[in-house]
């Protein structure tokens, strides 16, 4: 068990409301990622972090923001949720700073439904 947890695991919200998903790791890894998974699209990178307060955009970052104030926590925020953001969100950590390979360990996912 790589020690990565996501919360909440399930959430139903209404259009226009803010939503924050949390990813917590106990492995002290530098790199953390947020992906969304949708049918027909596979996994798409939203944002990632390469250290405390160091973040960058991925393929589908519009409508999302992230924060990393501590090594162990990476937060994904939807400022004003829309129905197109209904998805399963996965957080991942990378062991690249230790092994050189970008092998990811994933959390169990957070299923978000925006009504």
């Amino acid at each position: 068990d790589a020690g990565i947890t996501q919360s909440p695991r399930h959430k139903v919200t209404e259009t226009g409301t803010p939503v924050t998903l949390r990813c917590h790791q106990t492995e002290n890894h530098r790199y953390m990622y947020w992906y969304r998974q949708d049918p027909g699209h596979g996994l798409r990178l939203i944002h990632y972090s390469y250290g405390v307060k160091d973040t960058d955009k991925g393929e589908v970052s519009d409508g999302y923001s992230v924060s990393r104030s501590k090594t162990e926590d990476f937060l994904l925020t939807l400022e004003s949720a829309t129905s197109s953001q209904t998805s399963v969100y996965f957080c991942a950590i990378s062991e690249r700073e230790r092994s050189g390979a970008n092998v990811l360990t994933f959390g169990a996912g957070s299923r978000l439904t925006v009504l």
């Binding site: 790199y31 990622y33 992906y35 027909g40 699209h41 596979g42 996994l43 798409r44 990178l45 990632y48 390469y50 960058d56 991925g58 393929e59 996965f90 991942a92 990378s94 690249r96 390979a101 970008n102 092998v103 990811l104 360990t105 994933f106 959390g107 169990a108 996912g109």
Partner: protein, 112 residues
Amino acid sequence: SQELEQSPQSLIVQEGKNLTINCTSSKTLYGLYWYKQKYGEGLIFLMMLQKGGEEKSHEKITAKLDEKKQQSSLHITASQPSHAGIYLCGADLPYNTDKLIFGTGTRLQVFP
């Protein structure tokens, strides 16, 4: 931008049959990763390939990266119900190895 295409999108096989899943890149691959996802769960790392012509095996699963490093295949021998799930290939972006992109996935079902 680099894209990863997987084929087939869906596969239904009888237990005991062999099968192959392909992952094709529009650009040279610098690191190719295979993951498996059981339904409703997170992804589990299977194998990583980096060199042209490289081949790795784990139990009944073999992954290969072609010499040109633009296509990878995942071969399962004598499939079992435990092999069912979604298989995704992932790749490092050549201009930014911080990022890992993924293909669209292949859904595998194995029936008795």
